[in-house]
Amino acid sequence: MPVNYFPAEFEVLRNYDKCISCRACERQCANEVHYYDADFGKMLAHENQCVDCQRCVCICPTGALKIRPNENSFRKSANYTQPLMTEAYRQAGTGSVLLSSMGTPKDYPVYWDKILLNASQVTNPPIDPLREPMETRVFLGKKPTQMKFDKNGELDTTLEPSLTLNVPIMFSAMSYGSISKNAHESLARAAEGLGTFYNTGEGGLHKDFYKYGANTIVQVASGRFGVHKDYLNAGAAIEIKMGQGAKPGIGGHLPGEKIKEDVAHTRMIPRGTDAISPAPHHDIYSIEDLRQLIFSVKEATEYKKPVIVKIAAVHNVAAIASGVARSGADIIAIDGFRGGTGAAPTRIRDNVGIPIELALAAVDGRLRHEGIRNEVSIVAAGSIRCSSDAVKAIALGADAVYIATPALLAMGCHLCRSCHTGKCNWGIATQNPELVKRLNPDIAYKRLVNLVTAWNHEIQEIMGGMGINSIEALRGNRLMLRGIGLTEKELQILGILHAGE
């Protein structure tokens, strides 16, 4: 008998009083967990294939299903935990690198939850956003540092190219390939409806989505997939991806199985071949080299579009951002280590990088100190989970935030963290046509619009409570923040006082 070294991670609990053996769960599960056993005359489950995506639970017409963690437990150890032991068994069986998806589930400090917001009382009264105008429009790009006049003494009003966001929230990069065409369509239409931007990721831009170009950020990464002149000119801005919060220092690898016809066409690589993004850009070894790539895309687009440089939050992020700000970039996106991914080696995802809160505060502080904060806008990314996280990010110094995981949640994702398997039962992180059609873009885009609209209302209410009526007045306004349960050092890095001070 072969030995199974580790048990199924989840238990499928089926209430047979409720189950009518309609087999909907069986049809809905791409992992082939559920099956009908004719001999027993009832539904059974291969529990070891379950990833806890909750699709069957949500679809079961009689509410007969529950998925919960397997209660079987290895002998408890605070040091050698069950996941660590299971991972050792997996690797001993295969000799392979552990691959995971989405943001790290590990229990690292979430500083958003240790920062409290201010509100006005008595003096400087709160503002009711339902009654008074409340400005959440944001302009991203270089800001002029001095006034210039022409020969006739007229003020020079030409500005560097910029992005105008009606809400301080954009959808961050998710490539076509890692997510489905319907998911991309939903993001594109939602960005258009909201007056903000979505990001192609590094997989190129599908021909059907060029029409959303005014609300599109096109990405150039080390693999240069689908990058050509029309692509660069299709979007409102160009993002050069240097790193990603979930996997700083490594590249990407989209397995050949996900490279179906349409993805192959968009990435411009043969069908079924692995799409490998090298860890570095092989033409960038310095800030000067980065400047060269920035200006080569600016030349190719005739200086009409702002260039974003996306970097992962790593130990020296402030110094790196200072270099990026001097390299000619218009916008810096900083991606914290709790951010999501379609696939990353587990050990990298769970151990490399630093939290966005600390990185953002350090970068904003450094750029201000050096007098170059106006040279760039800052976009914070990497686990902005709700509107109050966004408000705290802006008060720490961000101009706007990128969200991706909340956008996936709006489309139905239940964070089972199995994107890399390509069997997403919600039709998001898959290229299987049967699964993709489960995601209806007509519904999903409205849910995305709803989510961001709701967040924007909440941002306005929080700002109103502070007595602030413009997002410009919130940006970098750290007086609106207080730490709770943080050390002196953490408060110093965040540049905020402790609650009660």
Binding site: G95, S96, R224, H228, I276, H282
Partner: protein, 239 residues
């Protein structure tokens, strides 16, 4: 149209090229201006002097001829057209190029042809007359790279770490000395069919730079291709 590039900024130079009416543009006294022809379409650019980095980046159907040496990042992510260099070329030539041709009479620096790729009828070509530095064709995913090693017959004309991570495309090296290669790359003696496959490419090179194609082809070539057993598939286990 003739442009005297002396003391001209790269931005002004590129604006002049874009604004020029005719197809033919002659640039004289070029001294290190970058991004020449970046994203350019429908021009035939002739350069005297030394162009700066990122010559012909994102090139889309232009011909660029340099009567001398070129610097780094020539033809970065280029899509179509031909870049002809009558001298040597710097580092990172043809990075991520998808189509078009880069022909270099002399040698190439480090990291030439990295992540060259192909798609359907788009098949890029790079021919290097002399030798190349290290890291040639890392991550090659498609297209053809031909290294002729002219003048370097007594040594292997490619540097170390050639073809690391190669997973598509093909490379031909005109030499008796096989390079050291990773296990994932197959190195074979080119046969008659292979020589026939690169005949037109070598003839084009010979015509541009005044060589005898017959003579160049009448030599031993190695043919490098990715080993079909995918080296990356077994790298990961779902967790």
């Amino acid at each position: 149209m003739k442009i005297n590039a002396e003391n001209m900024s790269f931005r002004e130079l590129n604006e002049k090229i874009r604004a020029s009416r005719g197809r033919r543009v002659e640039i004289e006294n070029m001294l290190g201006q970058r991004y020449t022809g970046s994203g350019c379409t429908g021009k035939d650019i002739h350069i005297s002097g030394i162009p700066g980095n990122a010559l012909g980046a994102y090139l889309t159907g232009c011909d660029i001829t340099v009567y001398g040496n070129a610097q780094d990042a020539v033809g970065d992510a280029m899509n179509d057209g031909t870049i002809t260099i009558h001298g040597n070329v710097g580092d990172a030539a043809g990075y991520g190029m998808r189509d078009g041709k880069i022909l270099v009479k002399g040698s190439a620096g480090y990291r030439a042809g990295i992540h060259m790729k192909e798609y359907m009828e788009k098949k890029p070509l790079m021919v290097i007359g002399g030798k190349t530095g290290d890291f040639l064709a890392e991550y090659q995913a498609g297209g053809r790279i031909i290294v002729l090693g002219i003048g370097y017959e007594k040594q292997c004309p490619v540097g170390d770490f050639c073809c690391t991570g190669m997973h598509g495309g093909v490379m031909y090296i005109r030499t008796e000395h096989a390079p050291e290669l990773p296990a994932q790359v197959l190195c074979e003696d080119a046969d008659k069919a292979d020589i026939k496959a690169i005949k037109a490419d070598v003839e084009l090179f010979a015509k541009k730079f005044g060589y005898d194609a017959e003579e160049l082809l009448n030599a031993h070539f190695y043919k490098l291709t990715p080993n079909t057993s995918n080296p990356y598939r077994r790298l990961y286990v779902n967790n």
